[in-house]
């Protein structure tokens, strides 16, 4: 007879029992409720701001900040704008994050390997370190390191000297290279060496692909790069960097570079805290490689170093990279705790700007967007790396 159409209508079901209708309706309701709540919140906010006589806008960023920063990577004074103050804060955040990521990775790998050591004492010490870091809040750690260690160091005159480094309550003075007139010329030479080294890598790869014989690639490239930079250093009429040693002069240090106690405390706290977590990540990664893989590598005649390099490490990396990414992101976000020890990072500067201008909404929006972008950028970078190391399946 008539063709059977299995639409809900023909089955005699009411339209509100149709799955498609329910799904559409649920979505419309959810979106409407969320939009309504957001609208209400924003209208309320606009109302209360209007009552306080404030209009939203970012014009205030152009005004003079009028406050000083403890330290800054770019030239900054209190006559500069709020925008520049925030930029200086952002650069401080990035500086401490990048350094923190590098050092905590190194320390974390060491801790992870120590956790797997057959040496009972090393193993237990690493375990104790990891448990301490995981069970104490970062804020407590940071404030402890800052107030109970760095601020308790002796005054400059009685500074503890460790080789060329001085430790005092005004900061840590380290030797530093002062750029001379030939510095910019040397930078060009440095970049040239990088380009040549990259060309060497490509050339050797091409040669390896053509000849089919495995040849070392990284080592020759590194040697070429080091050689060129060294030649550049000595060929210039004047060394591009002049070593400047710190020395105690009156109540402060002269020469070298003094790292503030705030910076040192923040960096040290972030590094050891994150290293505890990275240590566990590394340990789990190495343990995830099945024993059979190592035995198979041995059976194929690979020696210990080659086993580690070709069998264990690539497979462990696959497990390690995703959680390592989130540890890096955590470190970057945790650097905002700098506000508790008065290091002028982005969040700390933002707090001061809010106090000075009362522009809480705009400043918090800027800070959140900046952190979001940094987080997104880091995760894009690490995801790219993760794609390179992960298992390629047919």
């Amino acid at each position: 007879m008539a063709d059977v159409r299995l639409s809900p209508r023909s089955l005699g079901r009411a339209f509100w029992r149709d799955d498609r209708f329910i799904q559409a309706a649920v979505q419309v309701i959810v979106v409407a409720v969320v939009a309504g709540l957001l609208y209400l919140a924003f209208r309320n906010m606009a109302d209360s701001l209007a009552r306080q006589g404030v209009t939203l806008g970012f014009g205030f960023l152009e005004n003079a900040a009028g406050f000083d920063l403890g330290e800054s990577l770019i030239p900054y004074s209190n006559t500069d704008t709020f925008a520049r103050a925030l930029l200086a804060g952002l650069l401080n955040t990035l500086l401490v994050s990048v350094l923190g990521i590098v050092f905590s990775t190194v320390l974390g790998i060491a801790v992870g390997i120590a956790r797997l050591s057959g040496n009972w004492l090393v193993n237990r010490l690493a375990w104790l370190f990891v448990e301490l870091m995981r069970n104490v809040p970062l804020l407590v750690l940071l404030i402890f390191i800052y107030t109970a260690i760095f601020l308790k160091l002796p005054r400059v005159r009685q500074a503890i000297s460790v080789g060329p480094i001085y430790l005092s309550n005004r900061g840590v003075a380290i030797p530093w290279g002062e750029p001379t007139e030939t510095w910019s010329l040397y930078l060009a030479c440095f970049a040239g060496a990088v380009v040549v080294a990259v060309l060497v890598v490509f050339g050797l790869r091409w040669w390896q692909a053509r000849s089919g014989r495995p040849k070392p690639i990284a080592l020759p490239a590194l040697a070429v790069w080091l050689g060129l930079t060294a030649v550049g250093w000595f060929i210039l009429p004047q060394p591009p960097l002049q070593l400047s040693q710190p020395e105690i002069a009156g109540f402060n240090f002269k020469g070298g570079r003094t790292l503030t106690p705030e910076f040192m405390a923040l960096l040290l706290g972030l590094v050891i805290y994150t290293a505890g977590f990275i240590g566990e990540v590394v340990r789990a990664g190495i343990q995830s490689v099945p024993k059979g893989q190592i035995e198979a590598a041995r059976a194929l005649g690979l020696n210990g170093r080659r086993t580690l390099q070709l069998i264990i490490f690539p497979q462990a990396l696959r497990v390690i990279v995703p959680p390592l990414t989130s540890q890096y992101l955590n470190l970057t976000k945790n650097s905002s705790l700098a506000v508790a020890i008065a290091y002028p990072d982005l969040f700390g500067v933002a707090g001061t700007v809010i106090n000075q201008t009362g522009r809480a909404v705009e400043v918090i929006a800027i800070v959140m967007i900046v952190y979001l972008s940094v987080s997104l950028f880091t995760s894009v970078l690490m995801n790219w790396y993760n794609r390179r190391v992960r298992l390629v399946e047919r």
């Binding site: 069970n135 404030i143 601020l151 705790l337 809010i354 918090i364 959140m368």
Partner: protein, 400 residues
């Protein structure tokens, strides 16, 4: 043929049996190779040097009286002395509930039972005065619960569950109180809450409220409805991309702007910030569990005629949550540690009290003592939580 290849029984040597002598252990674990011996020597020297100076400091130079003199502040902040019994009542109830639960469900492990009753008693030896009496009472309450649980195991099981469910609202009512000056439970404004009490309340509120929100967000992210999924993903990714301090700051400054006319006090604003932040992380953890459930479970639930909500509540979530218990507890530990950040927005929880104590003229410059004590308190609670999670994991493991 096949038997002839086997050696005669007399030729088969017994497996070498390991001798667990002290010397053997030392050689195997500390001095197996020359570099291991070197490492051991370096570590031992480091431990000796660090341990000696730490002990010298802790037993000689450290002025621990800063802790004992301010113990009340550390525990409850400025909570009025006349109402402290309410906090102790909560502790006693908790001890009784834990005792009851061990009695009902515990598999007769004596060590656990001793922990419930013994811990308060041991603590009572350390403290003195009112605190000692209250701790002894808590121990007695634990013992009572344990005894009751053992005695009427089957009948009291339901009461134990009921007790845990109403415990949280009861604590809030007891601690905050209601009514005026003369009533039984006069109101204690939240600005007087402080110390460990505030830390614990912040974390418990955070856990209790962020958990359902997190599960909802995880379900939203896994949902087949594009609009719901997009909203959940946006929420989760934004909250995970920003530091907690900015969320706390926003909650402090912007919640009053969003809700004019309603006065929300600072503690509640901090709680809101913590809940909103933690929910995003919990959602990702729960999503991991949801993704681990095989498709067959969904299809079987459908085939049995369950609708979406019943399928989720009865089939998927119980399995998914069980898988992620260790991760969830890890998240709760992180939340507990994160409550220390509310000091940045000016609340007097454990860290805030520590700062206030250090501002007292009698105790200037005692940062090391105070912050070590705070760190110890956090470490003990975190360790207890992770220990509990491992027990729970073993108990819920049905694949044995």
């Amino acid at each position: 043929m096949s038997t002839s290849s086997l050696p005669a029984p007399a030729e088969v040597l017994p497996p070498p049996f390991e001798r667990y002598t002290l010397l053997g252990w030392l050689r195997r674990n500390l001095f197996s190779t020359w570099y291991n011996a070197l490492l051991t020597a370096i570590c031992a020297a480091l431990i000796f040097l660090a341990g000696r100076s730490a002990l010298e400091w802790a037993l000689g130079q450290a002025r621990w009286e800063v802790i004992t003199a301010n113990l009340r502040l550390f525990l409850v902040g400025q909570y009025p002395a006349s109402a402290t019994w309410r906090v102790w009542a909560c502790v006693g109830l908790l001890a009784a509930l834990i005792g009851l639960s061990y009695g009902v469900w515990g598999r007769g492990r004596r060590a656990n039972a001793l922990g419930v009753v013994g811990l308060p008693v041991v603590l009572a030896l350390v403290f003195e005065g009112e605190t000692r009496i209250a701790l002894l009472a808590a121990g007695a309450a634990g013992a009572l619960g344990l005894g009751l649980g053992r005695w009427r195991r089957a009948r009291l099981a339901r009461w134990a569950v009921f007790g845990w469910v109403i415990y949280f609202p009861l604590v809030i009512v007891l601690v905050s109180g209601f009514g005026g000056e003369g009533s039984v439970l006069p109101l204690v404004p939240t600005n007087l809450w402080g110390g460990l009490l505030l830390t614990l309340l912040l974390s418990v509120v955070g856990i209790v409220f962020s958990f359902p929100l997190g599960v909802l967000l995880a379900l939203g992210r896994q949902s087949g409805l594009p609009a719901v999924r997009a909203l959940s993903v946006t929420y989760i990714e934004v909250l995970r991309g920003v530091p907690l301090v900015t969320v706390l700051f926003m909650a402090q400054l912007m919640l009053p702007l969003f809700l004019p006319g309603v006065t929300i006090d600072r503690v509640v604003r901090a709680m809101a910030g913590i809940v909103l932040f933690s929910a995003a992380y919990l959602a990702e953890n729960v999503r991991g569990g949801l993704q681990a459930i095989p498709r067959g479970q969904y299809e079987a639930a459908r085939a049995l005629g369950l609708n979406t909500w019943k399928m989720m509540l009865l089939i998927i979530l119980p399995q998914a949550l069980k898988i992620v218990i260790p991760v969830l507890v890890g998240q709760f530990i992180a939340l507990f540690k994160d409550t220390s950040l509310v000091v940045i927005v000016g609340l007097l929880e454990l860290m805030g009290i520590a700062k206030a104590v250090l501002a007292q003229p009698d105790f200037l410059g005692l940062q090391a003592e105070v912050y070590l004590f705070v760190a110890l308190v956090y470490a003990v609670f975190c360790y207890l939580m992770s220990d509990l999670s491992q027990r729970l994991e073993r108990r819920l493991n049905t694949e044995r």
